[in-house]
Symmetry: C2
Subunit: 158 residues, 2 copies
């Protein structure tokens, strides 16, 4: 039904949370889960995906956690969506190795699906994580998502 999966929503929220705290040390999954209302164990799995894709760095053990691998303004939403959902094809016939369509691409509908693809891709590519974070700040100005003492963690933490 043309839905984006909840996993991707969670991943994006996690990235926003990490962007809001960018430069202030390692953030354990627990805190992200609390701040963004995401089931912890589930979030861990998605963070692992983001880590394997090189979008976040992670550190094990006590004092561990995650942080963005790059500056928020250089991370596009499209990268996250690609990693979480795999390549995006609104219809089967667009998949390179799919030939279930008996006309095999030689039909007038494919152009429509290409248009849909481009339109969506455009939105994802022109939106960065920092943009999302700024929007988030604007929406909840009086309600910082992390408590001030978190900013006072040991200096060597990051």
């Amino acid at each position: 039904m043309l839905k984006v999966s909840q996993r991707t929503e969670y991943a994006l929220r996690a990235m926003v949370e990490l962007a809001l705290r960018y430069g202030s040390g390692r953030v354990p999954a627990r805190e992200i889960a609390d701040a963004q209302g995401i089931p912890l164990r589930f979030l861990e799995q998605q963070l692992a995906v983001l880590h394997k894709a090189g979008l976040v760095e992670s550190f094990r053990g006590a004092g561990g956690g995650c942080r963005l691998a790059r500056e928020p303004s250089t991370i596009r939403v499209s990268e996250i969506v690609d990693v979480m959902e795999g390549p995006f094809f609104p219809m089967y016939c667009l998949e390179p190795e799919d030939h279930t369509c008996f006309q095999d691409g030689r039909c007038g509908l494919q152009e429509l699906w290409v248009d849909v693809h481009s339109a969506v891709r455009d939105v994802f590519e022109r939106t960065t994580v920092s943009a999302l974070a700024m929007r988030h700040r604007r929406m909840t100005p009086d309600n910082p998502v992390w408590s001030p003492e978190d900013l006072l963690r040991p200096a060597g933490a990051n």
Copy 2:
């Protein structure tokens, strides 16, 4: 995974087929299925949906079949998609009666989903069935999807 269902693809192909034959009588589901490579029994169900929605007219019994209810150029793809897929929300939080999002719309991500929604909707609304039919004709100029004798059916058929 942001996929459009096969049902919708079939429905669109059926509409294109009916558009190609617009004005030339009633087209039985069987012929549409053959021409477009769609499982007949499955197609019948989708045609029934299109009929209930008022997009096609249908006639039972021998000599029956379907025809477009309106001129192809006045039927937008968005109408068909709406009928087949129901209202389109790329993320749950956009659904009017959904409040599973703990921030309930007061989050920076919603704008992203609204953008996606608009972008896709735009494509669907600016494309008409006649446009799809013309593209189809252009793609298969040497290969008419219906045989000439079908055009010679009894004049009173429509």
